[in-house]
Symmetry: C2
Subunit: 333 residues, 2 copies
């Protein structure tokens, strides 16, 4: 295993120390239980928007804490759900009196632990709601999931709900928006190589030199099929067709297109793939209103990519354009 | 070779198409000769700040084109210098009547081709100056270089000079600032794995499973030594000591610290390394005023990192904080 780490058992805590040192003006880190909290939290009268999940998907979620996005993130061990006490601490530290909305990726452990935390917070008289995101069209159930997995769409969900909460939307409105986003977002990914989890020390799976995994999960879980390598001009339509036909997205739909690197794929390849996706969507009469290209929902050093489409209206575009100031996503301020 | 591409011979052109599609509000792309140009260029009365170099280091340079940073970038083939006609086209498209400053990484081909372009532009009566950056402390001469290589410091140079030009500094002032930055910036990098150039199809070098290359260049050129893998707590001081002792940076110095991923190293590891660097600098009494952490000056999918330190004063910090709006670096607007 080749990694820039010390002890695999402290890798998340060590990385969180670095995150705190790098962005003192945006966030603070509490180590035990581990929570990344917006620097100015709690914001009085504002709905707290909280997410979390296993580490190894950075910048998701800790790198998305800040003005206009997440109030707190709960980082579990690598590829492991955060514990209820982490989520409970996040609620306690960000509760500004307007309740909290938990944005939860659909993995069995995550759903269970966020649910337990919501119950604990309710006992503390905080109004806590959860919305589960399951945007991955690749498989119906999977290694860690009953139902579909939550993947790239999570970032779009966090941005839009974070912006609404920042503008003063109440908990009902934030919850309703989150459900609308979940209803209108779909993703699919693929991998060329496997990630290596530090405390495991071996690649998560084996792929032959001429193989790729189509529909991969962000923990290296199997997708739809292993297929021979193919050119980007065949691969990108394959991913996009699966996404478009699922909702389905139709001629005249307005969308945000998110072309995501799984971590190890360089921008040179990612922009190349993005250009193909833009052309295919134009051919279908689907209108790309905004785009995001980069490594945002990753799987450690795994090479691969995913495409996410979110159907939007004017209100959602306004929320997308609202100022945001986090380590990984920053504009308008 | 596992890559999301079509034909290796069109990979740069294909990626530039995607870049243009992704950021129509920030930049435009001309394909032959290849130039990435700020959307609102030429800006009348403003010094044009232009850089470029081989592709494969994204987001450097095309992802740094926009308000407050580069007016144009000239992307060569992967790891290959841009041609003089690319640079000449960049000058022609961005010349707002106040001259142009070329920021050139110190590689033999780059220096030669930018020089030729400057002569061509001078013949067109445009006042063109060049500043060469050679911030890599690892080796005195190298595979592609007489003298030191230009690496991570290039990004800091582009940000500060870009901000000065945006604020209305004239060509003399921009040139003087660029030289000050070059005088005060030092970097060193390392690699755990090799990149694969698309038109070569094989990794650029071989490293054993227990080896790393210390002082690597951003094209995979050899550095100071191959060493056995070591923990981050040994590796980071090794890089930082080389950087600090070179200038040297001294107790009381104020700096920008740039912790850069070579591409394939995940943020989890990069933030971990950044945290160590912050602690070491605090121990030495060197004051980190600003920081940047991420994959900005990369070598395709190479795993590894570099550390860059720039000595700053109040004026340089002001320039760092000035608004910037590019695909990869964006704040204040």
């Amino acid at each position: 295993m080749k990694k820039i780490i010390n002890d695999p058992s402290t890798v998340v805590a060590d990385a969180l120390s670095g995150l705190a040192a790098a962005h003192p003006e945006l966030l603070r880190v509490q180590q035990d239980p581990a929570v990344v909290v917006r620097a100015d939290a709690p914001v009085s009268g504002k709905v707290a928007v909280i997410s979390g999940g296993g580490s190894g998907h950075e910048p998701l979620h800790g790198g998305l804490v800040g003005h206009g996005m997440l109030d707190a993130a709960c980082p579990g061990a690598v590829f492991t759900s955060p514990t209820p006490d982490q989520v409970q601490a996040a609620v306690a530290q960000t509760n500004g009196g307007a309740g909290a909305l938990l944005l939860v990726k659909n993995y069995t452990g995550d759903v269970l632990n966020f649910e337990t935390a919501a119950e604990l917070a309710a006992a503390d008289d905080v109004d806590v709601r959860s919305v589960v995101i399951d945007d991955d069209v690749a498989v119906a159930d999977s290694t860690f999931t009953a139902g579909r997995r939550g993947v790239g769409g999570t970032l779009l969900l966090e941005k839009l709900v974070g912006a609404a909460a920042q503008r003063g939307a109440n908990l009902d409105e934030c919850e309703r928006l989150a459900k609308t986003v979940v209803d209108g977002v779909r993703s699919m990914g693929m991998a060329l190589t496997a990630p290596t989890v530090p405390h495991v020390g071996e690649p998560s799976f084996e792929l032959a030199d001429n193989e790729m995994e189509i529909g991969i999960g962000i923990h290296g879980e199997p997708g739809r099929e292993r297929a021979p390598l193919e050119p980007a001009d065949a691969l990108v339509p394959r991913l996009l067709d699966a996404v478009v036909s699922d909702l389905p997205f139709e001629r005249g739909d307005r969308v945000i297109l998110f072309t995501n690197s799984m971590g190890g794929t360089p921008l040179l390849e990612l922009y190349l793939a993005h250009g193909i996706a833009e052309r295919l969507l134009a051919d279908r009469g689907i209108v790309v209103e905004r785009r995001l290209v980069g490594p945002y929902v990753t799987s450690l050093e795994m090479q691969g990519m995913s495409l996410t489409l979110l159907r939007v209206d004017d209100q959602m575009l306004e929320l997308w354009d609202e100022p945001v100031c986090t380590p990984a996503l920053r504009w308008g301020m």
